[in-house]
Symmetry: D2
Subunit: 351 residues, 4 copies
């Protein structure tokens, strides 16, 4: 067992990241040390790399990034009984306090004192990562490693899709980034009928059909709302899954939503969004849901069951695979918007 | 049985209303003719009186106004079995089509082809009104006439309050017009804990405590959000009942809502409302509901049960009572914002 | 247009049925006359044929049987706007009163005054059938005729499966008659993970895998409960869909249900069932639902959407097809338990 | 701080209990030591005293009984941050494992590995009790001590009443033991309309009206089902809260339940109960819920809010108050069925 390890870190309050050698984390009695097998890069990691306004307010360097990963348990604290060395695991990286109002209500995913591993404390872009035992998710061997590395965003998708009725529902997914694309696959696996998808980026739009969308529209070049209304006999869709954070997409999504429909919002706009509350929410009797993180841990239970049953095909999502050392290339690729989910391997490339 | 009757009507596409003598409505086989005992004036009637932009687009004169009323069945069509002459009744004035997607789903209150009696066809500001049998609501004799005359707005309040969990919940009612005030009483009757109310109009604010509010705030002169957060230990309220339609009140309401809370919106803003979707909805995991009309007819069942059980005291709401002939005085009074619900009697004043 | 037609009827209070020539039904202003294209036989029809105790108490001969069918609109009453001659349709054969407590609550499927077409009044085992316009269900041309003929039992299955969460859930279907088998297909289409099925009849058991079951058990020859508990890590299934009406199957189903699970009961036992309420319901915190008919009409909306999306394969269910004249052969076959759904054609066999 | 304390214990596998002097519990890093101020006796304690079959299978003497209590924090383990010495507290005495399927789903109250303090390990009939910090419930000073001592059974009542819609619902409570009586008060506080109560014991029946019941029936001497059906216009009640565990009461409760109603079962029958599943559950489309314990911790949040708001009056429930030393007298009194909740004070009687 080494005492130091390689880690991809924000070392200074400035653009960029760096590989450093740091001590392997020491664990407390209720912690688990995981040897990281594969990690994946989230859009949030791109923001932190770029050192945008949000990052400047939230990140306290130095900190190891990375909150999408899977690995093998290396060591457990003395109080830990749920997993043992050698277990194949991922983890919920949102750590809740356990005693605020929301935690007491079973809404730990919106805990008032939430900390995120890989944002607020050292994460998984490293050879080892320390995780509280309560947050470890033991994986069925039937789940492949590359799927196991992206359970965090898949959980976002499952949380959003299953936040209301989905079987037999028409669905509009606005925004075909990775979580939007996963939402398409999850919605189809859960019995949704027609799934519409909108996306302006050509590369992402091309992935929507392979992921299961029935009709894919480019709102930059066609009247997506009119086409969706026409395809639904003028009624609109039962469910809007908003994955873009783009104000125009949000407004269009609401216009395409049927009276009595559900709008589940996961995408993060960077500014206030003027909403036509009267026509789009009130007179429609619509339900709008903010979606954050994954329900702890019912989303994980659902996601695992869907994966074990082989109902969700995520293969079209995956792009290149690289050693962690080549992170600059991975981040550069993602910034072009032409990559799928890129996997990075702290150990070097798997043979 | 007379062949003509007195009716308060929009006679021309211009400001104002007029009393006219018109034929008593003839009824079809599935209709009910009701002799109107008491009516009440809705804010919508004020808009139509004033001939605002919305009225100009919607109202086709001549038409008899009035959609809040109670009365006694005078005559029934040959297919009607649910009520008989002499029955004490009110009615749901939203008439649904029965075959659109929403009607088929049991969401008749958001029917795609909704018509409103008293807006789109002749209403209850008259000695008689014609109502489809399906829309008649037979009243228990235990419900007093003045309550029976305002079931339409009370139903809005009940629909809003009971659109989610309410027992043991902290509640903020933004806007203390009649429906906001009724919501306070309904929420308390259904087990809500602390009820906060905000209102800038002094007359209305003075009614909030008698209706059951625990803490009444004037957002024009104090930091209502800060006070609500303080009173809830920094957590915010479980439920926001938005009754004002005022953009600032809506924004403040969302700031005072706890993560995981419910915002039920009934008030009608006259413009787009810029919402901080990220902080107020998405990161909060909040649920936002548009509320329109009354559920047909589960809201009526709930409302009747609450009234029969004596659990909702509406007395502080009532202002003056007048003969229908004095409508100008009633409308003038309401425009000052200093009146409660004004009852008008087509028959002349009850002895 | 003929004035008489062929109909398969219960003519006397005794065992058996007979083909008679009867007048084509006359329709009222809100009725629809449908030319029947295909019908299917329900287990209830077998009971009526056999003239069991239930039939003796309920059926008032003479009456035309048949409540599973599809056809083409022949004529509509003057008030009917939702369909027109030539439309391809099926119908909800449960006719609700519209004014009882349950109807007012949107629970028309458990109306206090329910009448069933084909049981309480003349049904669809005939060349023509009269249906109230409110009960007609207009079909998408994409739905094949043989599927359209069995929407009534498919609706039972959809109602049962979607009475609670199903995506990512483990499911046990007890009893693989037609509705049980359909439930397997519907559950899989809606994202259930492992589906277990139990059935003692070999012919039916053989259909469970083709319909989508993952593990099919014969409780007459193996310890089904133990195997299900083992396969779920000792936890039990999330959802029990009870389709047998068999007391032993019901008891075993509850033993295989996890704490916090859902048991949806559709099968009709012929006697009281002793339940271990403490261990199987109370300490388990289980939810038990009685399921009757189809929700009017949200079940029809869901079912249509699932079929249109091509998500439910019912082909393995279908057995022989016969002219209505050969009804004796069809009923005889069904009594052996070796047949799937048998279609009968009033018009004679389709070419 | 003393090193020993007085405790009321099951010392041997036989009838009876005894006061013993035992060491004050030592606490671990995540535990809280509470100085007990008041305790109350549960029906379960009577069973253990009497050493019935259930007790013989479950209790491993020696063990200190007592799971209804309140007290003041005396000492906290080093990891405990949620409470501090001097805080007024009660506790959830069901201790969940945190990692079974149900715990992961947020259904900790039906944890597969549940342990109960006061049953499976030393409880609160003592001067001090050790509680895991996660199970401590900090109390608002507004809650009086005698209410705080009975939050465990009040939580059962709140859990049962709020397991479905209650506002505007008609309710039948079968069985007026302490939890049944509390359920009446909670249901009324949460907006139920007519509350019916049935009970054969005269003393308990006499308390039902003071607790808020509208109509109290003695099923031993009158046809309670017929009277309830008559009072509800033949429809039956919306909600059955079964608190007796008596098979006849359960059967009658189901007969009095409306089609589409909810039956929430908390009472524990001692044998299998033959249910008419067809008429009482399936054809009714009823929902039956098993209720166990209290939801952790949303029931505690709801209960606290209802109490703080002063909406639930429990005063009629309370009977005598005694020093713990007089336990024989308390248990004897309870066995007669003529006592309310008896409070016992480990410290001796409060001045």
């Amino acid at each position: 067992m080494p005492s130091t390890m390689k880690a991809l870190r924000k070392t200074h309050a400035a653009k960029g990241l760096a590989i450093e050698t740091v001590p392997v984390p020491t664990i407390g009695p209720a912690d688990v040390l995981v040897r990281v097998k594969a990690t994946s890069i989230c859009g949030t990691d791109l923001h932190i790399y770029g050192w945008d306004r949000w990052s400047q307010g939230r990140i306290k360097p130095p900190v190891t990034l990375g909150h999408e990963f899977c690995g093998v348990v290396e060591r457990v604290g003395e109080e830990v009984t749920a997993v043992k060395p050698g277990d194949f695991v991922s983890a919920e990286m949102h750590v809740n306090c356990g005693h605020c109002h929301q935690c007491r209500l079973g809404e730990a995913h919106i805990c008032q004192n939430l900390k995120i591993i890989g944002i607020d404390q050292d994460g998984a872009f490293a050879e080892f990562v320390k995780i509280p035992a309560s947050n470890i998710w033991k994986l069925d061997a039937a789940i492949p490693e590359h799927y196991a590395a992206i359970l965090d965003p898949l959980g976002n998708a499952v949380h959003t899709v299953l936040a209301g009725a989905i079987a037999g529902q028409t669905v509009l997914v606005t925004g075909c980034g990775p979580i939007g694309l996963m939402s398409i696959a999850v919605a189809k696996a859960c019995g949704s009928s027609t799934v519409f998808a909108t996306e302006t980026n050509e590369h992402r739009r091309a992935l929507a059909k392979p992921m299961g969308a029935d009709l894919v529209l480019n709102p930059a070049s066609e009247d997506a709302v009119a086409k969706i209304l026409q395809a639904t006999g003028g009624t609109g869709v039962d469910v809007l899954l908003e994955m873009s954070g783009n104000p125009t997409a949000i407004q269009q999504g609401f216009k395409a939503l049927r009276a009595g429909g559900r709008a589940s919002l996961l995408g993060i706009p960077t500014e206030n969004v003027p909403l036509d509350l009267v026509q789009d929410v009130i007179f429609k009797g619509a339900t709008v849901q903010g979606i954050y993180g994954r329900r702890m841990y019912s989303t994980w239970v659902q996601m695992t069951a869907l994966l074990k049953a082989g109902r969700v095909n995520l293969e079209p999502l995956f792009g290149e695979r690289m050693a962690l050392d080549n992170f600059e290339s991975a981040f550069a690729k993602l910034q072009t918007g032409l990559a799928g989910k890129i996997l990075m391997f702290p150990d070097g490339m798997p043979k």
